[in-house]
């Protein structure tokens, strides 16, 4: 066994030292009935080479990995600078534990502090935690937090959220006994917040929303009374969009995959979570704080730990322990590599290429945008043919396109979702246009 350093001789010496005659004796505390019931999995050990061969074969049975993705809905095919994996691949970072011993964890803690600062800069808020599992659980925890603060047992949620966000939110709220009231979207694809119910703990909107449409957040906070405004957003877009914090959001969450993480078939991901300083004590998750050591040098520690499960137990603000630290490090290195200017340029490329494609596509007969409102890098296309047929044609040409899903009321509308990133070349955009136009 390659990962076990001890030899039979070592083991014998150790057995002698503890007065046991066999390894089996070390398991004499397992009840005999249980020991007798044991069955192995039924697989032999394999060499490392065999493991590589097997996994490579499984990996190559995923043709989608070699196709050009126009898929979006929260996960995007952005370019990750090479340096990111070289930093996250350093064993001092990835084999380290949670920084409970801060004196020997300043690498992790300093980068946590940088990450928190970067998140706050992006979303326009003052306090951020060191990460949640993903954008969906971050949103769910935001809802729970808002109800802990306002205690109404109800939240209002825009229907124009990504379906997977709504699903996870529903599960967490069901368990917490929080009623969800849905806010519809209008003909422009924007959340209709004209009738926000009274007495809700939070109003939840997403921008850009699941249709790619930019929501209008001006004045929303002022219109919703005592409710907390929770906004779910898209980090790359914040390179050129005014952030939710500027509109008075109380909690901002986001999926951080777009910040230097691969699409990874949906995980691991990165949940951004930011809030106002007055809500710090209710905020879930870890947070790194700056302090001094005995010699007066600046250092970082995990602060406000009494919010967390290892101290508060059933009265903790969340049960979260392990989060997505290494992914947060990836995001930190990504943003440090790009800088504000670089992020703005990447965001512009996304916007420009998406608008170019939208223009070309809507120039085709029988094709238009389902919603008329401004968008960032994703839009919903209405086509004249069956969406399934169109997507199959795209697949044959090597492009991944999907129908709009999750909105029964739009089932009869031949709607297709298109997302464009900085990786899509003019050639790819023109080729997709040809496929949609039936000319390919």
């Amino acid at each position: 066994m390659r990962y076990i350093a001890n030899t039979d001789a070592d083991r014998q010496a150790m057995l002698d030292a503890i007065g046991r005659s066999s390894l089996d004796e070390l398991f004499s505390d397992i009840p005999q009935t249980v020991a007798d019931r044991f069955r192995p999995i039924g697989i032999p050990p394999q060499s490392e080479f065999d493991v590589v061969r097997t996994l490579s074969a499984i990996a190559s049975d995923n043709p989608a990995a070699k196709m050009v993705p126009f898929l979006g809905e929260g996960i995007y095919d952005h370019y990750t600078p090479s340096i990111v994996s070289h930093i996250t691949g350093r064993s001092e970072f990835y084999t380290a534990y949670t920084p409970y011993q801060p004196e020997i964890s300043q690498g992790t803690l300093t980068t946590m502090f940088e990450y928190q600062t970067l998140v706050c800069e992006l979303v326009g808020m003052e306090v951020a935690n060191a990460s949640m599992y993903d954008g969906a659980t971050a949103l769910a925890e935001a809802a729970l937090m808002a109800d802990r603060i306002r205690k109404t047992g109800r939240i209002a949620v825009a229907r124009s959220l990504h379906p997977h966000l709504r699903r996870t939110l529903d599960t967490y709220c069901w368990a917490a006994g929080i009623e969800r009231i849905e806010l519809p979207f209008d003909s422009a694809g924007r959340c209709d917040s004209s009738n926000v119910p009274q007495d809700v703990s939070a109003v939840i909107v997403q921008t850009p929303n699941t249709f790619g449409v930019l929501e209008r957040l001006e004045g929303l906070k002022e219109r919703i009374g005592e409710a907390l405004l929770i906004v779910s957003t898209y980090p790359i877009a914040l390179g050129i969009l005014e952030p939710p914090g500027s509109y008075g959001a109380d909690i901002v969450v986001a999926e951080g995959q777009s910040l230097g993480l691969p699409m990874a078939f949906g995980g691991p991901l990165l949940g951004l979570f930011a809030t106002r300083p007055e809500y710090l004590r209710q905020m879930p998750g870890r947070v790194a704080g700056r302090t001094l050591d005995e010699d007066g040098n600046i250092g970082y520690v995990m602060a406000s730990q009494t919010r967390e499960q290892h101290i508060r137990r059933q009265r903790a603000t969340s049960n979260i322990c392990t989060n997505s630290a290494l992914c947060a490090l990836a995001a930190t290195v990504y943003l440090a590599t790009l800088g504000a200017d670089g992020l703005r340029q990447i965001a512009e490329l996304n916007l420009e290429k998406a608008h170019y494609l939208a223009d070309r596509l809507t120039g085709l007969d029988g094709v238009d945008l389902l919603f008329d409102a401004p968008f960032f890098n994703e839009f919903i296309l209405r086509v004249s043919e069956d969406p399934g047929t169109l997507c199959a044609r795209a697949k044959a040409a090597g492009f991944l396109v999907s129908p709009l899903r999750g909105f029964d009321e739009l089932d009869d509308t031949h709607a297709v979702r298109i997302a464009v990133t900085e990786k899509r070349s003019k050639e790819e955009l023109d080729a997709l246009t040809d496929v949609v136009g039936g000319r390919a």
Partner: protein, 484 residues
């Protein structure tokens, strides 16, 4: 140590140089989305050249201590060696370049890996159904608690609002139960460290949803009356949750399903060798008994006639707990680990882990107080009490850093005063264990003769002892741009 915000560099360049420049006609941001949406708030992220970034993070990494740096005997964390082949296979583009919403026909490899992981984890647990969606152990606990809720809701037994758990439980257990809407009743442990079964029985009534147990428990002791406990809970109409944090101690020897577990969660970043990452990402799959199978989260990965597909129509499902399929790349690493070790290798894991722990326990009990002596499993708990007056476990831990070791887990479990929880894991050599024991003995000696060495430790770390009080009383949680 400086942050990027303090690096006095301002790098200017025309383009990012990371991707090609714009190759389509420029429309203009304001023209496309309207001036009102355009960012006016400054974005204070410095522009740094790549060499600067590389040096900054390389320097920071050297202030850390990982498993590859040295012994990391953190009880309850299973800090075993992270095999490098697992890192390599997880980086295969055939895995990392997959969008989760791809047509299932185009990702059969990924779905196969998820499906086979489910099969293998189910076999290890001795339970028929598995979900890989939870993103961490505590998330698996939460999922298990959601499953309990749905189960009793379906049966019209919503008066079952209580979860029983021992006072030795990890903090995430009561926290998860509470987040799921349960109240928590703590059951005391006996002097020998095992659960007081009579006290537990006395709590069983029709308001109890079930029990959350860690097996072996957090003291490293295998509950001798485990079958009696799970039987009693089932007889009272409740369910049994087993926290799998200590799986490293019984690979190849026992299965939770055979002990009466209805839910068992895995910490793939513990016993299944995936790296801890400084705090994640982890992965916390749950295996469940047939009683709970119908409630597992969607989408479920199923297999029929050689094809893998997604099942969304699961009427009684609890819904979803994560965006898509859980932490897939982490599951790839665990899958590769199980594939490489096979049954034989997994059995060797628990044998060596338990032997290492008992050897170290025997050696250290000569110097340190061992509240619960006897055969332990893969970890044991010492107490720092009685080493010397005025010396706390914290002092001992900080001084161990000077001796080149990551300290053990301190002040957990709560039922042992000044606890030091030690889990060596199977990937450590006898030499390392002996050196660690020598260091622990040296620290005890120092405690008696030169206590200030401990009080002021660490002396040889990148920073001296840090002021936690100040950090919480005067929170500085983001870089103070205004002061610079």
């Amino acid at each position: 140590m400086n942050t990027i915000f303090e690096l006095n560099q301002s790098h200017r360049s025309e383009g990012t140089g990371l991707v090609p420049e714009l190759d389509v006609p420029r429309r203009g941001v304001e023209d496309a989305i309207g001036a009102s949406h355009v960012r006016s708030r400054p974005l204070r992220i410095p522009s740094l050249a790549e060499p600067t970034v590389a040096r900054h993070y390389t320097k920071l990494s050297k202030l850390n201590f990982g498993v590859d740096d040295g012994f990391y005997p953190l009880g309850s964390c299973t800090m075993k060696y992270n095999p490098k082949v697992n890192e390599d296979v997880a980086r295969l583009p055939g895995f990392s370049c997959l969008h989760p919403l791809s047509d299932p026909a185009l990702v059969q490899g990924a779905l196969r890996l998820i499906y086979e992981s489910q099969e293998w984890l189910g076999a290890i647990a001795g339970l028929p159904a598995v979900a890989l969606q939870p993103a961490a152990g505590a998330h698996g606990e939460l999922t298990g608690m959601f499953l309990f809720r749905r189960h009793f809701e379906q049966r019209g037994e919503t008066q079952r609002v209580r979860i029983l758990l021992p006072d030795s439980a990890h903090g995430t257990n009561p926290a998860s139960a509470a987040v799921a809407g349960f109240s928590v009743t703590q059951v005391p442990s006996l002097a020998d460290g095992t659960v007081d079964v009579d006290a537990l029985r006395a709590e069983l009534d029709d308001t109890v949803a079930g029990v959350m147990l860690t097996v072996p428990n957090t003291l490293g002791i295998f509950e001798p009356r485990i079958l009696e406990i799970t039987q009693a809970v089932h007889d009272a109409g409740g369910l049994c949750y087993f926290d799998g944090a200590n799986l490293n101690s019984f690979f190849g020897r026992a299965r939770p399903g055979d002990m009466g577990a209805d839910v068992f969660h895995f910490n793939q970043h513990k016993s299944l060798s995936t790296p801890h990452g400084g705090g994640g990402p982890g992965s916390g799959p749950v295996a469940v008994s047939s009683v709970l199978e119908d409630y597992l989260p969607v989408p479920r990965v199923v297999h029929s006639a050689g094809t893998y597909s997604l099942q969304w129509d699961v009427p009684a499902s609890i819904g979803s707990v994560q965006s898509f399929f859980g932490n897939f790349l982490v599951a790839v690493k665990a899958f590769a680990y199980i594939l490489q070790l096979g049954d034989e290798g997994l059995r060797a894991v628990s044998e060596n882990a338990v032997l290492n722990a008992n050897y170290l326990q025997e050696r250290l009990k000569a110097t340190y107080d061992l509240p619960h002596d006897g055969l332990c499993k893969h970890e044991f708990v010492l107490s720092g009490k009685g080493i010397a007056d005025g010396i706390s476990t914290l002092d001992i831990a900080k001084r161990l850093i000077d001796h080149g070791f990551h300290p053990p887990t301190i002040y957990f479990p709560l039922i042992v005063k000044e606890a030091l929880m030690i889990e060596p894991t199977e990937t450590e050599s006898k030499e390392t264990l002996d050196r660690f024991a020598e260091a622990m003995e040296a620290v005890a000696e120092e405690a008696r003769n030169t206590p200030e060495l401990l009080h002021e430790a660490p002396h040889h770390a990148p920073v001296r002892r840090l002021d936690q009080t100040r950090a919480t009383r005067e929170p500085v949680l983001t870089y103070p741009f205004e002061d610079s």
